[in-house]
Amino acid sequence: MVGVAAVVVLTAVGEGARRYVTQEFTSLGTNLLIVVPGRNETTGSFPGAGGVPNDLTLDDVRAVERDVREARLVVPIAMGNDTVANGERRRQVAVIGTTSDFQQVRHLEVTAGSFLPPGDLERGAAIAVLGAEVARELFPAESPIGRVVRIGDWRVRVIGQLAPKGRQLAVDIDNLVLIPVATGMRIFDLTSLFRVLIEVRVHSNLESAEERVLALLADRHGEDDVTVITQDSVVGSLNQILTALTLAVAGIGAISLAVAGLGVMNLMLVSVSERTAEVGLLKAVGATGRQVQRLFLTEAVLLSLGGALAGLGLGWGLVRAFVALYPAFPASPPAWAVVSVLVLAVAVGALFGVLPARRATGLDPVEALAGR
């Protein structure tokens, strides 16, 4: 029973984690390529050839826009951390330098004012869009639109405010400040972009786009010095890990079920020996060996099924409690786990009930009646 509860809870949580991750990633669109400067360590870099990777620049972004036909949106990201202040009200936030297309890629909504205007890749206007939380902190009583805030020593004018969104993949959207990418590189004195996001037109273009981007940048930099991550690969490998975890958990559950099976067998053996006289009586009034066997098998199956149902109930209760505590986490036991746990319990009951049932069937009626 405990085994069944454990299987239900753990597979529910495992499945929940898998769904949570998948949901988070796919909410960003699966047509996304992420270009990161530097070789991925795990794919092996060449020791001798140039330790520091070349910068990922706005020129690279423009080249990709021009040459990679599959790309629908190419969004540069420059990243920094600084204090944002409105007079005495200040807050430490992540500042992202990007372009107007960032809104589409990240599915952001603007509640007041407007998002970064399109077409500003090089100029770097002194404007900013505030995350919901930042806006509320710096301007508790009034609208921030049109007001000037300081980022470090730089003064920028607020042109928009984002709708509350919460965390998205470890990035707290509500605590962001968005500025034009060139402005960001100037403020933080950056030579390289942090990331370039590329959204392809259709999912099937993903691979060819990846190849083309890699080839283009290798050509421009004179070496292979960027890494391209696809949503698919990230989601895929996370998915794999979590599925493996869920299966492992199910395996542990199966072992505990086997242990429970031995318990059932023991219980049934005791039951048979306690009821030897009863078996004798059944035979005396005309029960065949098969009938006696079926009786004890049924009892074993009912016993383990009862245990399994109790376990399911317990597990379900625990999952419910878990969901009540963490509403965002879509934990629910996968149907396959519930079904297979029940089937397994019945099978275990039948399997481990066979030996005791055989023992009952083999009893000699006269001796059984005498309780021997």
Partner: protein
């Protein structure tokens, strides 16, 4: 009609097999009332178990209504017991978890008799032993005499034509024992073949015929009314 010819039953105990019944031959007519008597360990229960197809002879022949049953398989014997034989035991052997009603239902459940039929037959059987009002009591709520009456209802509910009772009054006081014997004798009067194992000479005298066993052999066959009080004693000499 029961025909035993040279029936033997031995148990492989140690080097020399223990012979519980040696060369027993007997005929028991349909509707007869037979008492089996003899000292303890003389083989009375062994004989009754063979008659009831709970046990098989190691040698000899047992024919029931002309059919050889001594060599049938265990399942075939179950079938014979189910339809032809009712058992009453000294210690009742009721199932404690089940009510009187359910205990009586048991043989019919095993025989696959439909629900409606079962109900009617349980009522009839409990009525015959005067226990309709106790149908939903469990054995531990019933007196010894009442328990034995439930057992008799269970033994007769399949309408067997042979009723075998192994010391049915052994656990009862005189008054209850007398009531049980009256019940069994009334069923015998209605045509049921009755074989009773007993130590009580008074019961023996009421039977049609007495078989006296000693050391696994029939040492005396007398009509019940001719059984003298010292008959058992004599046979031992």
């Amino acid at each position: 009609m029961i025909e035993l010819d040279g029936v033997q039953r031995s148990y492989p105990v140690g080097a020399e097999p223990l012979v519980a019944l040696k060369d027993v031959s007997a005929r028991i007519a349909k509707g007869e009332y037979l008492a089996v008597m003899g000292p303890s360990g003389s083989g009375k229960s062994t004989l009754l178990n063979i008659l009831g197809c709970l046990d098989r002879p190691t040698a000899g022949s047992y024919r029931l209504d002309g059919r050889e049953v001594g060599t049938l398989s265990a399942d075939a014997l179950s079938e014979v017991r189910r339809h032809h034989i009712g058992f009453v035991f000294q210690s009742f052997h009721l199932i404690g978890r089940l009510s009187a009603h359910e205990n009586v239902a048991l043989p019919m459940l095993l025989a696959g008799i439909p629900e409606d039929d079962r109900r009617a037959r349980i009522s009839t059987a409990l009525d015959a032993v005067g226990l309709v009002h106790r149908a939903h009591h469990r054995p531990n709520e019933l007196s010894g005499g009442e328990c034995q009456r439930v057992a008799i209802a269970r033994a007769t509910v399949m309408r067997p034509h042979i009723l075998l009772a192994d010391e049915p009054t052994g656990n009862l006081d005189t008054a209850n024992g007398e009531q049980i014997m009256r019940l069994l004798e009334r069923m015998n009067a209605d045509g049921l073949t009755l074989v009773v194992v007993t130590h009580d000479p008074n019961i023996g005298r009421r039977s049609d015929r007495v078989l006296v066993l000693r050391d696994g052999e029939i040492v005396q066959r007398v009509p019940g009314r001719e059984l003298r009080p010292d008959a058992l004693f004599e046979s031992r000499a």
